[in-house]
Symmetry: C2
Subunit: 264 residues, 2 copies
C-alpha cells in the first residue's frame, strides 16, 4: 500500500496537520484533503479556524478532542473511541481526514490510530504540519536553534510537560527547550529549570501562537517561576476565577533564543 | 512595526519556510508570498520545486545557498553577502522573499538576516514552515515523540550534526533524536550513540524527505555505524566515486520511534 502521495485524490484515511491555528499556516496538501473530505475528525488545538476556511461545506465535522468539557464528564474523547470512529467511517467508504493541531507526528496519538487502520487493512497517509514552536518563533522573530551568543551548539528539545522528563539531561543536551502543554505546571517547571540554567535565563511564553488573539510574554525563568508569565497571559484577571485552562494552549521556550529585544 | 500579519499584502522582507521539498507541503502563506514577490533569495534544500510551483513567473530568483559549487571556490554564499543582498533590494522597494528550506527558525541563519533588516529599519515578517523531521516521520508513518513502548516520556531532541553537542545529555534527555545534516559524520555519530543507547537501538535515515526521489533506510544504530545506511542511501554505488554530498540531505532519527514494521 502506497501511503503518502500527497498529489493524488486519496480515498483512505488522511492524518493531517492543521498547523498552529492560522489557516494561512496550513499546508496546501492539508487544505486540499479538507476540501475533499467526507468526514473530518478534529481536535481542539488550532483546528477550528483551519476547518472553517478549508473544509468542504457538506463535510461532517466530528469533535474528538481531549480537552474541555464538550464530551462527557471528563471532557476527553477516549482514544479507543476515536480509533473506532475512524475505522467505522473508512470501512463505510467515507474519505476520512483526522485533523490534528500542529504536526501529527509531534505529540499526537498518531500511532494508535495508524495501527487501527493497519488492523483493518485501510489505506492511510500522513500530511506533516507546522508545529506551534515554529509558529511562535516565527511570530517573535527569534531562532529556535541558534543562540544569540553564536556558540556552535544548535539543538532543540521539544518536551511535553505531561511527560516524565529528565530535566537535567534535557537542559544540558539542548540550548533551546520548547515545552508544550506547560500551563498547569508552569511555575514548578520554571523553578526546576532555574536550578539547571540560572534565574536570569531568558524564557518566553506564547499562547495561541498564530491565532488572531495570540499573546506573548518575554522575561526570565525566575519571573516565570514567580507567576509573572501566568499573570500576563491569563485571560481572566480576577484571581478567584483563574484556573489552568485560562492559560492554555501555552508554548514555553527557554534559552538564549527566547530573548527578545527592541521591537516585539 | 507589525511584523507577522500573514493575511495582508506585505511590502517588506518575508522570511519564508519552503517546507521539506514537496510543493504541497508548503504553507498557503508561503505560496502567496512567493506569488507576489519581486525577488526570491533561495537556498539549496527543498526550495527549487516549491519555487517552480508557486513563484511569480517574472520574479527574480537569486541562489544564495551555502552548499554545492555553484558560487565560487567554496560553493558557499557568505552570510554577509546574503544580508547585503536582502537589504539592498528591500531598500530599492522590491518585495523580497528569503526562502529557506523547512522552517526558517530551525537551523537557519535567521537572526543575522533579521538583524540586518532591523539595522536598516526595514519591515520584516517570518512565515513558519514544515521541518524535514516532520515530513520524514509523516512519510514513514511513525511518531516523532511517542515511543512504541508507551512510556510516558515524550520528548525530541533536534540536533545539527555540525554542532558541538553533549551527546550523553541529548541521549538521556530525549526518547527520540532527530539529527539534521548528519551525512558527513554518520558512522561516527552512530557509533557514539551506540555507546549511549545500545547497538540494537532503532535508527532510520530519510534522504530528500517529501521529494519525488525520497529514499529511506530503517535498521539499527550498529548497522548505521557499519556503513549500512550510507550504502543504502548513497546514489553512486561505485565506491571510488562516493563522497559525502552523495548522501545529502539526510535526516537521521534515533530511538523507538524510528522502528518500522510491516508495510513501509
Amino acid at each position: 500500500m502506497k501511503k503518502n502521495n500527497l498529489r493524488v485524490e486519496f480515498a483512505g484515511v488522511t492524518f493531517a496537520g492543521a498547523g498552529p491555528s492560522d489557516p494561512a499556516l496550513c499546508t496546501i496538501a492539508t487544505a486540499a484533503a479538507l476540501a475533499s473530505a467526507d468526514a473530518i475528525l478534529y481536535d481542539d488545538l488550532g483546528c477550528q479556524a483551519v476547518m472553517d476556511e478549508h473544509a468542504a461545506k457538506d463535510a461532517q465535522k466530528v469533535y474528538v478532542g481531549k480537552r474541555g468539557a464538550r464530551d462527557g464528564a471528563t471532557g476527553a474523547t477516549a482514544q479507543s473511541a476515536i480509533c473506532e470512529e475512524i475505522v467505522r467511517r473508512a470501512l463505510d467508504g467515507e474519505r476520512v481526514v483526522r485533523l490534528k493541531g500542529g504536526d501529527p507526528s509531534t505529540f499526537g496519538r498518531l500511532q494508535d490510530e495508524i495501527e487501527a487502520c493497519k488492523a483493518n487493512s485501510l489505506s492511510w497517509r500522513v500530511i506533516a504540519g507546522v508545529t506551534s514552536a515554529s509558529a511562535a518563533a516565527a511570530s517573535l522573530g527569534v531562532p529556535l536553534t541558534a543562540p544569540r551568543a553564536r556558540r556552535q551548539v544548535a539543538s532543540l528539545s521539544v518536551v511535553s510537560a505531561h511527560a516524565d522528563v529528565d530535566w537535567t539531561s534535557v537542559s544540558r543536551g539542548a540550548n533551546t527547550i520548547a515545552i508544550y502543554m506547560g500551563a498547569r505546571k508552569l511555575e514548578s517547571l520554571a523553578r526546576r529549570l532555574c536550578a539547571e540554567r540560572g534565574d536570569s535565563t531568558p524564557c518566553m511564553g506564547v499562547r495561541r501562537a498564530s491565532s488572531p488573539d495570540e499573546a506573548r510574554w518575554v522575561g526570565t525563568l525566575a519571573e516565570a517561576a514567580d507567576g509573572r508569565m501566568r499573570e500576563a497571559l491569563t485571560d481572566r484577571k480576577d484571581d478567584s476565577q483563574k484556573n489552568d485552562s485560562d492559560l492554555s494552549p501555552l508554548l514555553v521556550v527557554v534559552g538564549e533564543a527566547a530573548k527578545s529585544d527592541d521591537d516585539t
